[in-house]
Symmetry: D2
Subunit: 385 residues, 4 copies
């Protein structure tokens, strides 16, 4: 009850800011941790909106200048939930100020920014300042089990990875030119937004890293109405990011892989699907059914083989003993609660949480290789070390 | 920001107490409601445990005597999360004291208790005191859609209901004689614990009520080790509740139905499955995939007919516009957040929330008919009005 | 190549007659058997139709009088594919004439007829004349595996059986009064037509027999247009069979069960679904996905438990080594080819094929108990021995 | 009954030879066609084996020299079921002799051979001699429906194709060096064997052709025991074909695509899976559930959207009115029966059956581009016109 506090400052109050806020407020109610998170201050550019968010989401204070937040003595952690173009500046300033940093994914909009962040994180780590990037999908019990099965050798030598992340929210050409469709602000389209997730997830699960890629990208709808467009005065602007990206890859353990991320897969809402085939077994995961893992164990007699649907809601599964009885499903947002659980536990233990900024940089370098390959007619392109 | 408060007192801190606590703390962060819930006091018999629960779950105070809680002036709502044998006493006292009451399901352990509670609720309602019973599964977006499709006539005349609730947590005869396996304390076994859910859910979805049943019950493992049993001194006691219950039924709109609730369906963890067939279409729901509804529309051309898997995670679905983007799954516990959202909204609007104690009494009368039929060799037994 | 022949005479040329014809012509092309079936003669009442059927389906001759067929010396087997009201007469005459008999299911329209047939079969067996009833669904590899798993003790003690057979072909009240909707000709409705299948299948798979039932039946559409009805002169007649039947049951090994057969489950076309739960595991089968068996092995570690989808298309599965490579699906009609394979093998070996007329009589007695219970307000009704 | 005959000569009696034999013997029993197939002669190199096959499968005669078969006057159709290295020689000789030709897929082992065959077919067609290549998967009712939905514009503009064909039969390194693993005899590995199927199927369904590819291939197990290897005298030889092939592609209607064919996807037996996303809808097909088509219609209200599982077993579906009642599943081999139905109908109508040799050549040119790209580090490679 008299646990030490971990005083949190959050930058951003939109989708990710809300998700993180709920998780910071929930994590100690569910998990027994040596530090207790305190939601001290939330920061955003619009005074009225951030004040309302603070009130609604349970933050003690609100600010409009992230530099002020970073400079405060009563903050231990900076949680960066802004769009990607601010990740580097805020994170490096916070690390320099001795704050632990949790930064949303993808780590940055460019490989260069990501490299600078990883360098800053390495320097900070030397003096016990922790950092991690928010690839939250690692935190589902079914994903943890998938990784464990690979790590335990249950799949044998990994042969194949196939990963897609399918959405359809811009399939309608009437969807306006949102900031996520502009390269200057979003960095890339489906690639960084959702492609980054499958790159991280498959590397995490297999323990292998992508060494080279051959990619193509496509922008199906090349012009969209501006947000300021009206029926009387229609205005259009160019879409400057990819609607879809497809690539083949090789991993350093010998596996070959296909990847696809798209916002034009009509009827698919959040279909992150990963399958891994090894010499001794296979696993498959679908984010639309996130409580389930399909597992084929080739050691079974041939007449009894088949993918079993494991409901990863047993107390034996990662994180689950803290939640509900057997068979009670978790949802999307639990990934954030688990992410914070692991982050707090690492900070309390004086250990580096994962994925590190260096890990997240490597994902960025894969994305970078994908973009370069796509720009050179799918020529095979090595991922920079 | 200066919303009026709804001051809550909760009795119970175990499974349901924890689930409700998280929901009371979350509901206003997600939903925009005219009243703001304040988690004033939690009550439980064990001083140490309830103090720890208050601290962990975010209650301002804790008490060990529910009568004291009910008597306080600074409490607007009593949330009853005790085992069933205390529901009647606490709820009627709270209603008499002018508190709104939310009582967990099943409403009571016996039909007589339930009748008394419904009477008390009716009296209280006359002076604006509200009450509801916690059949939380009504609150999933997929279930709301199922009900809406029936209400809109999309299924036509309802012909068939088939409902199962399959679990397996006592299939192992080594599981000891927990209180849920003793009639004195639990009232019944699978019947009241999980059978009550499918009775309520199917009546809610179809808008029809069960009029008669033919039932059988079975206790597969008739003796179990006492909790005090040791290897050196093994002790056993009789299981006095049903392990499984099966019944056929007729509904007042002309449908026929099968129901089954069991704790011995090996491999099924939380498999509440409901299918409804009507003259114009059908729907099917499975709690193990709670974000999905299967819907067959017989109006489709015959070559295009088939059950479609609707991912009930679009902003158009009930409750969803307050949550995450399209395709992000909800979990089990969101049903409680939604239940509180609806409860608070009703209280604020001066309306009776649902299901009322009278609704919950009717479920109890079905359970009562089931027990009577099972005790008379499956003789057809009418549900009391 | 110089195998002895098994000379077949078939009565009936409609749905079942066609299915059996294809199977008689295929079975020796696929399976290596000591006897070679020769499709000698087909018999039907309409000269033109049966002649066309003989020509199309590959029968050497056709006849219009089944008595003539039964009297011929050059016929070894009589295959009875008529409607149920002729089963008894033809089968007993054929047995008396020393012909082996394969009779379609259900064995008869009444328990009395079935009893007489079983008696005749027993007498014939004494002189080496064989008989079997065509419960063809036993012959799917997935069903054979299901039975094998139970027989090998992999499911432990059987606790639950739940079986449905859902169709929707008469849900439309405009469907005319076909012979299958008239009691005089069809015996019963969903009960004998499809309910018989799930009674046989579940008893076959579990090795347990139903001892008592509590049943209800319903006829949702009580009048239908006559086949002679016209828009100018609309005529209606009463439906005299059940549209749907639901019952609970107990099996002699201690399991409890629910059964449902209906022609009003909109959107379900051929959904025979069977699940069996035992103390050590569970299996589930769905005829709409007949190449698959779902199997849960409770011996798996709890974190790896789950229903595995076994594709029963490996050479290790029953019948499969004679067909295609791994993963190539079978269809509905293969059940008849397998049925004939087993029938021929038994005849060649001088053994009684299964299910025997006695087995099929027992199914009939279950159906009889169901009808009696439904006629007495679901009173528990024992199955006659 | 006095239909003209179509006299068939078949070359090959292994897997494909058996499948075609059954289909030639069945097709007229099920479909009402203007020509009646007569199974005149089967040809194979081993006298004893081909004699046994003729006897078992129902061919009037057998031969050991295909040239003799081609030269006979009493043969109308040559059905080529040999390994790929004989396709060109036999087919062109047969066409030159004025026989209609049905040739198994892939059309040839090399693009050059395929080109020569297409030329021969074009010449023959001028004098009414017909030819087609056996891409049998086009003939499933679910695939026909998929194509129809695209052709009717129900999917709008096609954006994405994703196709995999996953098997696992050589994942075990102990599998010996079969002829299918030697380039000299098989041409290629997974690419031609199963990759050819997904290339043909996706082009057929979308009506679009692949214009360019970027590919990689992998041989995971580079040496295998020779068929002559013994424990005492172990001998190994090199695997000279691909175990797996992965490629991205662009189609001439603007769609982008991923393709993967592998024999190392442990647990996947015959998993040909195709998904097509268009601006107005999507379809998905899985050969392991070949009676089903998943269809999402974006015209549905957003709250009712979702992939519906169409059981393509209604009389309205292609080929189905000739088979069984609604809901009765077809199997793998029915694709051959349907292929012959369409072939016979085209021949009878004096029309060219599909896919033509020219169509099959185009598939070969795609495979050729895939191989060339894979040999040049995934460089983008155009498909030859």
């Amino acid at each position: 009850m008299d646990r030490a506090e971990l005083r949190v400052g959050l930058v951003g109050y939109a989708f990710m800011g809300t998700a993180h806020s709920l998780a910071w407020r929930t994590v100690n109610k569910v998990f027994d941790l040596p530090l207790r998170a305190r939601t001290v201050a939330i920061c955003g550019r619009d005074e009225g909106n951030v004040a309302a968010a603070a009130d609604r989401l349970g933050w003690e204070e609100h600010l409009t200048d992230w530099r002020e937040l970073v400079a405060r003595d009563d903050i231990d952690v900076i949680d960066v939930c802004t769009p990607g173009d601010l990740h580097a500046e805020i994170s490096t300033a916070a690390l320099a100020a001795g704050k632990h940093v949790l930064c949303e994914k993808p780590l940055a909009n460019t490989a260069d920014e990501a490299r600078a962040m990883a360098d800053a994180a390495a320097r900070a780590a030397a003096s016990g300042v922790r950092s991690a990037c928010g690839y939250n999908y690692r935190r589902f019990p079914a994903v943890a089990l998938m990784r464990q099965l690979v790590a335990d050798g249950r799949l044998g030598t990994i042969r194949h990875v196939r990963a897609v992340y399918l959405q359809d929210w811009v399939a309608d050409p009437g969807i306006p030119l949102l900031w996520r469709l502009e390269k200057d602000r979003a960095g890339s389209g489906a690639l960084g937004d959702i492609g980054a997730h499958i790159v991280d997830l498959t590397q995490y699960v297999t323990g292998q890293r992508i060494t080279g890629v051959s990619a193509l990208t496509e922008t199906f709808v090349k012009e969209r109405p501006l947000l300021t467009s009206t029926p009387d005065n229609p205005e259009f602007g160019p879409v400057t990011v990819d609607d879809a990206v497809l690539f083949t890859a090789r991993l350093d353990g010998g596996a070959v892989a296909t990847y696809e991320a798209t916002r034009f897969a009509t009827g698919r809402k959040n279909a992150l699907r990963v399958e891994v085939n090894g010499s001794l077994g296979s696993v498959a995961f679908d984010l639309e059914r996130l409580n389930e893992l399909e597992f084929h164990d080739a050691a079974a007699p041939r007449s009894e083989g088949g993918f079993r649907r494991i409901l990863a809601t047993e107390p034996d599964h990662a994180y689950m003993s803290a939640w509900w009885p057997s068979g009670c499903a978790l949802g999307y947002e639990h990934s954030f609660t688990h992410e914070l659980r692991d982050f707090i536990a690492a900070v309390a233990a004086g250990e580096d949480p994962t994925p590190s900024f260096a890990d997240a940089l490597q994902v960025q370098l894969v994305l970078d290789a994908v973009e370069r390959s796509a720009g050179r007619e799918s020529t095979w392109t090595k991922v920079e070390a």
